[in-house]
């Protein structure tokens, strides 16, 4: 959950990139890391295997700046997407203020997308949370590849909640900041509502 330091007027929020393995969650973070001003970011930490598959999580703090005297900081995390790392995913999901689901648009990954989304619902459920009540956005990644599923089909399969969605090519940065902006906005709005 968000950590609010009243004396320092600081708001810290935790955002988690979720989705199937090799879908581009880490690539999203890497793009943000490359593009953001050095003064606004901390280190990008990747706990990955030798073949650069996420083992535990990636982490990057991002200072968004101030709104009306409140410093807003986002802590961005990715989960390991591979199915057998479920225990790790549960740990990282704890205390998340918002979730970005990075779906792989390729036809052969549709089943993995659906499975991963169900896994997200289940892991949230174990914490007594439901996706409908959480800031949540979808990113349809890898739109540049030839064998992609149409946006309409992706929407039908994954976006039954009708949440904000974005087509993306994370490797070149297309859609990355749009997605981040949308989830940050939802999280801040939710904070406003809840507080």
């Amino acid at each position: 959950m968000s950590f609010i330091n009243y004396s320092a007027r600081e708001i810290n929020c935790k955002l988690v990139y979720y989705g199937p393995g090799l879908g581009g969650k880490t690539t999203n973070l890497q793009h943000i890391y490359r593009r953001v001003d050095p003064s606004a970011k901390g280190k990008l930490i990747s706990l990955a295997t030798e073949t650069e598959r996420t083992l535990f999580f990636d982490f990057m703090p991002l200072h968004l700046g101030e709104i009306r005297g409140f410093k807003v900081r986002l802590h961005l995390y990715t989960v390991p997407g591979q199915v057998f790392y479920d225990a790790s995913r549960k740990l990282i999901l704890k205390g998340a203020d918002g979730v970005i689901f990075v779906a792989d648009s390729q036809l052969e990954r549709m089943e993995s997308n659906i499975e991963s989304l169900q896994n997200l619902e289940q892991n949230l459920g174990e914490q007594g949370l439901i996706l409908e009540k959480m800031p949540f956005v979808l990113q349809y990644n890898k739109r540049d590849l030839p064998n992609v599923v149409s946006i309409e089909d992706l929407q039908r399969a994954l976006n039954t909640r009708n949440v904000p969605w974005f087509g993306a090519v994370a490797s070149t940065g297309v859609g990355v900041f749009e997605t981040l902006k949308a989830i940050a906005k939802l999280v801040l709005q939710e904070l406003k509502k809840r507080e």
Partner: protein, 169 residues
């Protein structure tokens, strides 16, 4: 209220008590630095030689470490492993869970010893447990007021303000 389920709200007064407690621990344990983070990896307070330390990363990795160790404990039927110790060539890390909610980290070198750190951490933990019991109590009372002030100010924040955060990136 379940621990970890709610926003953590610490008022000025309690924040000063926490910082004083950490500062005392740092002196008495003859450690280099001491910091307190919540289980989600947010830094609450730090004392000692923290210049040159990437505290944000340290906090997030420590929380990840504690979470993973907690997962291991559960697999073995333990409630938690409440103390972790990492020994390095120069610096050592003593990590412990306090009040099942926050993580106390002590960085020390050869000027101190594991025994001394353990002893002082134990005492400081008792103080921190008391402080956090107060913090949790106040979450419903005074924190409500602080929250009310925050809400009033935060409610004035418009979508445009939020959009403006992103104009730079």
């Amino acid at each position: 209220m379940l621990p970890g389920r709610t926003n953590l709200i610490i008022l000025d007064e309690d924040f000063r008590r926490i910082s004083a407690c950490l500062s005392r621990l740092n002196q008495e344990a003859r450690s280099k630095a001491v910091f307190l983070i919540d289980k989600n990896g947010q830094l609450i307070s730090s004392q000692g030689e923290t210049a040159g330390l990437d505290l944000t990363s340290l906090a997030s990795l420590t929380a990840g470490n504690i979470a993973a160790t907690g997962g291991l404990a559960q697999l073995l039927g333990e409630k938690e492993f409440s103390i972790l110790f990492h020994e390095g060539e120069r610096d050592n890390l003593h990590i412990s869970i306090v009040a099942q909610r926050v993580i106390l980290v002590v960085i020390f070198d050869s000027r101190s010893s594991l025994g001394l750190v353990r002893l002082r951490v134990k005492k400081a933990s008792e103080d921190l447990v008391r402080i956090f019991a107060d913090v949790m109590k106040k979450l419903d009372q005074e924190a409500g007021k602080a929250r009310a002030i925050f809400t009033t100010q935060f409610a004035e924040i418009t979508d445009e303000d939020i959009d403006n955060l992103f104009t730079k990136s």
